[in-house]
């Protein structure tokens, strides 16, 4: 009788543990996956791990500043990536670059940055807190080599993160990168500079973000007659979490990274009203 009770208690404990593990798996995360907090309350509270999961693949999309759910003249309401207006140009990727630099600045260890385009201006990364000595660049001749170089880097446990600038990321490639990232615990970021034609493909990435610039708040005294153009304050971004395992899509307005890679918390707003509408069509 006593033995049976003991057995029951043991069974309950195992079941409880299994339920916890399954619950965590359902949320799309390994139970012990470490995460990098954004240190911005609204974003961290929204993400299932309380931050960006480390040792996984994350997509970061650049996007133009055009309003995403704008009515087009012909009446069709194109939403999502198709309407990004992005042509893979430098203007679309600048905000996403700084967003990523801020994340990397708060990791410790060397970073491998694989790229083909030559427009990355590295002094700006230092301004987001990413020490230039921590970044090793791998410049490829072809874009297809970027993903291969990324995979090579992800197998090296000494790195903190691997970044790749690509125009598109397919399902197979993203699965390979995700597996490589999991195996050594190195975090992978793809910085996507989409061409006009490419839409969002399904990928194995843990999260998909899109960073666009948003009008900044006017500085305190506003424009006067003596100087008709107001000065520039801290930039603001519209951060769209377009896809995330275990969490709904959402949009946030944040201030740009400061010198230590942290997003501005003070002005952080979460406009949940249009966010789910926005991302259901995109995903």
């Amino acid at each position: 009788m006593v033995g049976a009770q003991h057995d029951k208690g043991w069974r309950a404990a195992v079941l409880k543990e299994l339920r916890r593990e399954v619950g965590a798996l359902e949320a799309g995360a390994r139970p012990d996956a470490p995460a990098l907090a954004f240190e911005a309350e609204a974003i961290d509270a929204h993400l299932p791990e309380g931050g960006l999961r480390l040792g996984a693949l994350h997509e970061i999309w650049g996007g133009s500043a055009a309003p995403i759910d704008r009515q087009d003249p012909d009446g069709t309401n194109k939403t999502g990536i198709e309407n990004a207006g992005g042509n893979g140009g430098a203007e679309d990727i600048a905000a996403a670059t700084l967003f990523l630099a801020g994340l990397l600045a708060r990791l410790s260890g060397p970073v491998l940055w694989c790229l083909k385009a030559r427009d990355l201006f590295t002094p700006s990364l230092a301004a987001a807190g990413l020490d230039p000595d921590r970044v090793i660049y791998a410049e490829t001749w072809h874009e297809r080599d970027v993903l291969a170089a990324m995979e090579e880097g992800l197998h090296h446990p000494g790195l903190a993160a691997v970044v790749g600038e690509v125009a598109r990321l397919g399902l197979t490639a993203s699965r390979r990168l995700q597996l490589a990232a999991e195996s050594e615990g190195v975090t992978a970021f793809t910085l996507l500079r989409p061409h006009r034609q490419t839409g969002a493909e399904p990928t194995a990435a843990a999260t998909r973000w899109r960073i666009r610039s948003a009008p900044s708040l006017p500085l305190m005294p506003s424009s006067s007659a003596a100087n008709p153009v107001a000065g520039i304050g801290r930039g603001r971004w519209r951060v769209d979490l377009m896809r995330c395992r275990g969490a709904d899509p959402a949009s946030f307005i944040t201030e740009a990274c400061d010198g230590t890679g942290r997003l501005g918390v003070s002005a952080l707003l979460r406009d949940g009203a249009d966010a789910p509408h926005l991302d259901r069509s995109a995903a």
Binding site: A94, R118, D119, F121, V135, E139, V229, G231, I232
Partner: protein
């Protein structure tokens, strides 16, 4: 086309004698003597003795009469050959996997595919092969001069031409670019430059063939009938029309292992297996010396005796067999096995001491920096050296010039040294910079105001906020035209929140122009 360096050391015997013996004052002229029968003849002279009219072949007594302060020593041809081989081994480690000593006073280096390593690396610039070749020659000349050796160098497309130009062309350092014509460079040289026997050259001269140019385009049959095939074979070799492979030197002290196959290997997989075994043997040899390899050369000899060389470099000394094998095997894919590979030789011509290290653990203080050398090697092997880099600041206000590339594993600056202030400064720098600033149309309310509107790629950007100007002056010490240059940079934000970097250029008396140079967000 091959690229070959010929090194001619006209005073090698005497200069080597000076370097190896301590009792020879540098100011006295020196000559080396040899005995033929009962006669003592001069075998080699140095530059000072030559200037006084002394020549090899003279009787020693006559030389002493001509130049009373002359020092005489015994000629040592075997020691010279040994010294030349040592010099060749040094070139092998530094410049090229294929070096052939040409006794008594020369070396050949096959530098095909090696010269890009000497090209300057600056951000955004493509590799310039001509520049690499010039730098290689300059480096070699400077290092030989520092050793106290007089050298004449030539870099051309064939062994024969390099030999001829090093010995018979006027300047000390000659280079014939790949695009230039070898015929035009060789035509004015005397026929002696063709590496023919003295009898043949004398006979050619008697017939009126004094320059190489005289032999080009003549009827070959009568001359061949009289002198044999040698004349035109040497001519074709010099002009690069006929192949002349160099026999690579494998010095006995070189760390190397070799494998010969009973059955020739035809597939890349078979070769890869052989490489794995060679790497294990080489690692053992390196470990015995407590050295690590910085470069590996795999010499692949095919059945028809032709040789291919696969060369890999490593950022740090390394002797891990798996790592070495992986680097080499990645380069084997394009290799042509021909009829089959008979023999492979793996050599480590450039090694550095590598002592066992304590594995980082929490017990022995702080963990050390992760070792990225294997990753850097693999990426550099695949993408090319110089494409794996870090960036470092340059003291320049001009944004395009403020970044320089440094080697990926270059030592990091000490924390105490202040960072050059032009990277982390009050004025922000854009995340993306256009390589060439793009002209834009700008409307400003007053000439000195920041722009109110600009049009770029057909799109109008109405500016709501702006900061500036940040004035950057031309760097007059770089070029005379820059003294009048100035740029006024403005950081502007349009209605949508996009941030641009615009500048107004003032160049002397020309009207001001506006350009877009970068993007913040």
């Amino acid at each position: 086309m091959a690229r070959v360096v010929s090194v001619c050391l006209p005073f090698f015997a005497t200069e080597r004698m000076r370097l190896t013996s301590t009792d020879l004052p540098p100011e006295t002229p020196l000559a080396l003597t040899t005995r033929i029968g009962a006669q003592r003849l001069i075998a080699a002279v140095d530059a000072k003795a030559l200037a006084h009219g002394l020549k090899p072949g003279m009787a020693a007594t006559q030389a002493q009469l001509l130049l009373p302060g002359l020092t005489l020593r015994d000629y040592a041809p075997r020691a010279d050959a040994h010294g030349l081989a040592k010099l060749a081994a040094w070139c092998l480690a530094r410049y090229s996997p294929v070096v052939m000593p040409a006794p008594p006073d020369g070396l050949f280096l096959d530098v095909t595919g090696c010269t890009h390593l000497f090209a300057a690396r600056t951000a955004g610039q493509s590799r310039n092969l001509d520049e690499g070749e010039d730098n290689l020659l300059a480096d070699l000349a400077a290092r030989l001069a520092r050793r106290g050796l007089t050298a004449r160098l030539a870099l051309t497309g064939s062994v024969g031409a390099a030999h001829a130009l090093a010995r018979f062309a006027a300047p000390d350092c000659t280079r014939i670019a790949e695009t230039q014509s070898l015929t035009r460079a060789l035509a004015p040289l005397p026929v002696e430059a063709l590496r023919l026997s003295p009898e043949t050259t004398q006979a050619l001269r008697r017939l009126g063939f004094e320059r190489i140019g005289d032999l080009i385009g003549v009827k070959r049959a009568p001359i061949t009938r009289r002198f044999g095939h040698d004349v035109f074979l040497r001519l074709d070799q010099a002009l690069g029309l006929s192949r002349e492979p160099l026999v690579p030197l494998i010095p006995p002290e070189l760390v190397s292992t070799t494998l010969s196959f009973v059955e020739p290997v035809i597939t890349a997989e078979g070769l890869a297996q052989a490489v794995e075994r060679l790497c294990q043997d080489l690692a053992a040899a390196l470990e015995a010396r407590q050295h690590g390899a910085r470069r590996l050369d795999l010499h692949v000899t095919r059945l028809d005796r032709s040789t291919s060389i696969v060369s890999v470099r490593m950022a740090k000394p390394n002797r891990a067999p798996e790592h070495m094998a992986r680097l080499i095997c990645e380069k084997l894919t394009g290799l042509d096995c021909g009829l089959g590979v008979e023999k492979v030789l793996l050599a480590a011509p450039f090694t550095r001491p590598l002592l066992p290290e304590q594995i980082a653990s929490e017990l022995c203080g702080r963990p050390k920096e992760p070792d990225l050398s294997t990753l850097v090697d693999r990426l550099a092997n695949r993408l090319g050296a110089g494409r794996i880099y870090r960036t470092a600041p340059v003291e320049s206000d001009w944004p395009e010039r403020s970044v320089r590339r440094v080697a990926a594993l270059a030592p990091k600056p000490k924390v105490e040294t202040p960072r050059p202030e032009n990277w982390v400064r009050a004025w922000p720098r854009p995340a993306r910079l256009l390589a060439d600033p793009m002209p834009v149309e700008v409307i400003a309310l007053l000439p000195d105001y920041p722009p109110a509107l600009f049009i770029w790629q057909g799109r109008r950007h109405r500016i709501c906020r702006a900061d500036g100007p940040e004035r950057i002056f031309g760097e007059w010490w770089r070029a005379s035209g820059e003294i009048a240059l100035a740029r006024d940079y403005f950081q502007v934000e349009d209605e949508a929140g996009q941030r641009f970097w615009l500048f107004r250029e003032e160049a002397g008396g020309r009207p001001q122009r506006w350009y877009l140079h970068g993007f913040f967000a």
